[in-house]
Symmetry: C2
Subunit: 506 residues, 2 copies
Amino acid sequence: MSDKQQTALSPRRDEDFPEWYQQVVRAADLAENSEVRGCMVIKPWGYALWERMQGVLDGMFKATGHRNAYFPLFIPLSYLEKEAAHVEGFAKECAVVTHHRLEAKDGKLVPAGELAEPLVVRPTSETIIGAAYARWVKSWRDLPILLNQWANVVRWEMRPRVFLRTAEFLWQEGHTAHETREEAEEETMKMLRVYEAFARDYLAVPVLTGEKSEGERFPGAVKTYCIEAMVQDRKAIQAGTSHFLGQNFSKASGIQFQSREGKLEHAWTTSWGVSTRLIGTLIMMHSDDDGLVVPPRIAATHVVIVPITPKEDSRAAVLEAAEALAAALRKIDYHGATLGVEVDTRDLGGGVKNWEWIKKGVPVRIEIGPRDLAQGTAAVARRDRGPKEKEFLPMADIPGLMGGMLDGIQQTLLERATAFRDTHTRKIDSLEEFKAFFTPENRQKPEIHGGFALAHWNGSKEVEERVKDDLKVTIRCIPFEDSPEPGICIFTGEPSRQRVVWAKSY
Amino acid sequence: MSDKQQTALSPRRDEDFPEWYQQVVRAADLAENSEVRGCMVIKPWGYALWERMQGVLDGMFKATGHRNAYFPLFIPLSYLEKEAAHVEGFAKECAVVTHHRLEAKDGKLVPAGELAEPLVVRPTSETIIGAAYARWVKSWRDLPILLNQWANVVRWEMRPRVFLRTAEFLWQEGHTAHETREEAEEETMKMLRVYEAFARDYLAVPVLTGEKSEGERFPGAVKTYCIEAMVQDRKAIQAGTSHFLGQNFSKASGIQFQSREGKLEHAWTTSWGVSTRLIGTLIMMHSDDDGLVVPPRIAATHVVIVPITPKEDSRAAVLEAAEALAAALRKIDYHGATLGVEVDTRDLGGGVKNWEWIKKGVPVRIEIGPRDLAQGTAAVARRDRGPKEKEFLPMADIPGLMGGMLDGIQQTLLERATAFRDTHTRKIDSLEEFKAFFTPENRQKPEIHGGFALAHWNGSKEVEERVKDDLKVTIRCIPFEDSPEPGICIFTGEPSRQRVVWAKSY
């Protein structure tokens, strides 16, 4: 078998995308399913991605005036019921705590100590945080409240898929309360822009931004805005949402304040969140048939050095050179932080080690062997290029070149993803064309098949539902347009205010 | 009313310590009880302390070779049952999930979708993590596994108290698996030393280290080691624990590996954790009758600048000087990080603002008024000194002096806490003396009353239980001693290997 056959993933992306995804996760050792249905174990290599995401986003939240806090895991059932649309949206996926101890009965432990009121494990925290805000807010002087929490949430999933759809997931949820509608709307949009910038600048994920249609809105929100990405099977993935909640939740929770005019008014609230789903998005966006590809700006480990030590007599010198290079690289400032550099000194073959790091998606791999050492060079490989492609660079030059090389990889990934999305996005002006665009059998015909269809729509929820039932295609977002181009709805022939984005989605 | 009367807390520490504690928490706006029994809301000023603790500890864990991961919130009841002592220890305080959705019934939402097997919300994760390790470990080459997780846990509490004892709390739990008993024992001790150093160097909390007696051991552990602090009411608080689990959990979970000799063996495991209880420890250790006192090394905000702007014409100049000083201070490197500096520009009186920051425990307060400005000075006050005590320092000198001043505060707090503990720790050699030492009515007689009693004990669990029942005093730890001093048990007259530490505790 060739090296390639031994090591690339099976199946390839174009053979079976969902199974390929599972293989990337497994090969990079990111996460696995636990024996608790729908709950994943996030393994260290996967969790390191989440830690980096947390670190960067947390800085962006603080820079926009937010602080962190923590609210209870459990929500009394009666709180959830206060907002009718909200409870309706979440009732089918709530984990419910009904007892507070275990007791032996007939030699078996059974739940005991039944609670007077069942507690729901938070699927999201608008209602429990709303109850706190109602206690805290008395006057307009107490506003705005700008808080975020990093937490776990639970939404019972019938068809779980690691990172993308899990019963328990990790996320952040921002919750803010404001004096005026305008301020709350501004906040909603500001955080959407934070998500957009984060996705683009760190994850190398180009996203569309826009509003969700009524059918896809967060339960209880007045408006839901989103960032939507196209991954490599041309499907859409919602990577983050920002909700303008109007006064719905402040009325449900009683968040009232004395206004500047001395009147009692309800606050205007927002909420916004991204989750470990971002890891799934990242995987499906950039990875290839060799495994995971991590954009340098979100990588915890930027460079791995693989010493090649075939002979005992040159072993010490090679290891020393590897450690010296690692030390020099660790001193580099890369966008305000130090580089993550590992030296893989394990007693395994160079090829085995190299492929392991390819699968783990490390942006740059450096091999140093006795011959390199003699010539003062090292073999440098970039994860955005083929697995065999190496550049022999003078060892002394590598630290100085590394920042630019990493930025180059980052840019390549963003450009590739943007080009891919643009190639598979098309204006569609007839229903026939629309159907062909989404017919799986047309997949190999890029001239008629695609991912994002920009099509006119009459604004009707019924039409949206019909398309969803017939073709499994939904409106991903109604893009922000300075001068929307009116047209004719391709489904009804009725007038349309603007084109909206249709796609199959995760 | 004098300024002092308006602002100091009521009651004082010596009047009603438990109520004083609640007042410190409230005055500093650290946390509050939620309407979910036993679950607290950690407010931004309290959460910032936790974030700092997380940041420092996380760095220490990584420096000792650990990585972070994340395991499921829910534990199948059958997992918990695998270790008999473990489930026995936690059965009475388990929140149990029995249903996975809500359904309308007679116009009311009720739990529906009963689970085939109830799920316990993790009170600790040995069993669920053990199940994962059992999947991962095949050979001695897979060991050690050195992981940590930052998570929320739930232990139903009948008498909750904010930060000290809450139904839900935040913590970290390290879980490691090793090839040999010796390695696991070494790990247990290494992490105990990490906790000890963290408490001393960051929290300014001097701790005793030692082993727990059998009665105070973690359910399922072979040995439990702890760090124990004495707070200002002379009670002990267990601030962190490190457990040597032997092969108990690896046998329960089936963590087996092929040894170097080719035999199938069970791994040796450890676990270790600290929680948001550390915040409660910090509060009770250093705070005074004016409110919270935060040691500089754990503070998120080190300095607050309060501009005094009585007249409109000098207002702009004062604010400008305050911002300039803040900018200069923010450039200072304080133990490898930048200083947290706030300028309080709120439209409130200087006295009101000043007292607010005193109560919030900010290490250094700087007032700048028009007169200071004219003289090129500012009034600098340290939180470890009286609220009225100020030093007028040349403005230009302040940035250069700040690092030393903060270190001075840190040192004062540690010295004070150490002196307090030592003053209230005594060798006790008779039962009569022991009883007097712990009789509340003797509290005002420091010559016979105290906090930590170092007394001989015959090693019997029954004696320990009797003392607990009679006097509410327990063994806090069996200190590590290079050359233990043998003696006579004060309770039974039997031989004793060494003195152990007795105290009332939280």
